[in-house]
């Protein structure tokens, strides 16, 4: 499969947004353990820090630090609703390319497993620029994306393979239950496919620079590339 360039927005609507909207509650029940580097980043923030969690999903990173204030957002209204259960933070529905936040205001931003869902290089770079614009000078963003190099994982992707892929999500059905009232009918397994762009080594940093950002720290953790980024001096 090659990069689906024709109409990125419509493509993502079908192959990313609609899927998350449908699998929201099932997806949420599988996402509860924060990754160590993200936890460390959030716990290292001073009390009263104000930041963003763009593509917050079920809000698992909203439970890490209660002495900061996060305005979280997700493209899926169903996921945003699930994420509202974490005080003192706030959740809204928004698109990473049209965020409703003032420029040069926030101490930090995180965007975990989100930018790899945008379907063209231009849109992925624009998403990073959009994440950096609300940061104050010296504010930092933490970005996580799926890696192409996943030799250790069951998915078996590795260097040199196709980077634009459809990844199945299987929502397990229920077995039929026998009961007095006729029981419950069996539900079949349903498989959804989500679009991902798998990042090769160095690609996230390249995209950050193109978006006008400066990489402060970067690395690889559990099948993901990550980077901590500041807004460059160039704009604004």
């Amino acid at each position: 499969m090659s990069e689906p360039v024709a109409n990125g927005e419509a493509y993502e609507e079908e192959h990313v947004h609609e899927v998350y909207e449908q699998i929201a509650s099932h997806f949420s029940s599988t996402r509860y353990k924060p990754w160590p580097i993200i936890e460390r980043f959030l716990q290292g923030l001073a009390p009263g820090s104000v930041g963003l969690d763009v593509g917050c999903g079920n809000g698992k990173y909203l439970a890490v630090n209660r002495d900061i204030f996060i305005v979280a957002s997700d493209r899926s209204p169903n996921l945003a609703t699930i994420a509202t259960t974490h005080p003192p933070h706030s959740v809204c529905v928004a698109d990473i390319l049209s965020l409703p936040h003032p420029a040069h205001t926030f101490d930090f931003a995180i965007s975990i497993a989100v930018i790899h869902h945008l379907s063209t290089a231009t849109r992925r770079t624009a998403a990073i620029a959009s994440l950096l614009a609300p940061l104050r000078r010296g504010g930092r963003a933490l970005i996580y994306v799926w890696a192409l190099e996943q030799e250790g994982s069951r998915r078996g992707w590795s260097e040199g393979m196709e980077q634009d892929v459809m990844v199945p999500w299987v929502m397990r059905g229920k077995k039929a239950k026998k009961g007095k009232g006729g029981g419950e009918e069996a539900q079949e397994d349903r498989t959804f496919h989500r679009y991902y762009h798998l990042y090769r080594r160095g690609e996230l940093e390249e995209s950050v620079r193109e978006a006008g950002g400066v990489v402060v720290e970067a690395g690889y953790e559990k099948d993901n590339w990550w980077a901590i980024v500041e807004r460059g001096e160039g704009e604004g």
Partner: protein, 131 residues
């Protein structure tokens, strides 16, 4: 949606980002609800310098809430000598963390676009011709 959050939201349209009229967004037809929340003195004390008091005053007025003091309270007045939260801190906590717009709209003062708030969640998705 907490009143505090309105300090950190503006219009999602690119053309409004540089227009001062787009900030803050104006609540309309707002249904307010007070939802109890645990008080965190450390958080509020450190958030205070980040809050635009003029914005908070404007929004409170637009929501028909009792008018706020002319200037922001002093965080020196937040704790009693016994280390208990003062009424000043409790009132600020209620205003920022417990007052929620549950339903209504947020209107941009620049382009007049209306964003819906339903069950406490504001929706900033734009139709593609408006992005």
């Amino acid at each position: 949606m907490k009143l505090l959050t309105l300090n950190f939201l503006t219009c999602a349209r690119k053309t409004c980002k540089t227009n001062p009229a787009a900030f803050p967004l104006h609540p309309r037809e707002a249904e307010l609800e007070q939802i109890e929340a645990e008080i965190n003195p450390l958080l509020i004390q450190n958030l205070l310098p980040r809050i635009n008091w003029e914005v908070l005053k404007t929004i409170s007025q637009e929501l028909g809430l009792p008018s706020l003091p002319e200037s922001a309270p002093d965080s020196e007045d937040f704790m009693t000598e016994e280390g208990e939260p003062t009424q000043t801190l409790k009132d600020l906590h209620t205003l920022l963390m417990e007052m929620n717009v549950q339903n209504g709209k947020l209107v941009c003062g620049s382009c007049e676009h209306e964003y819906a708030i339903k069950e406490g969640i504001a929706n900033f998705l734009l139709p593609s011709h408006m992005v």
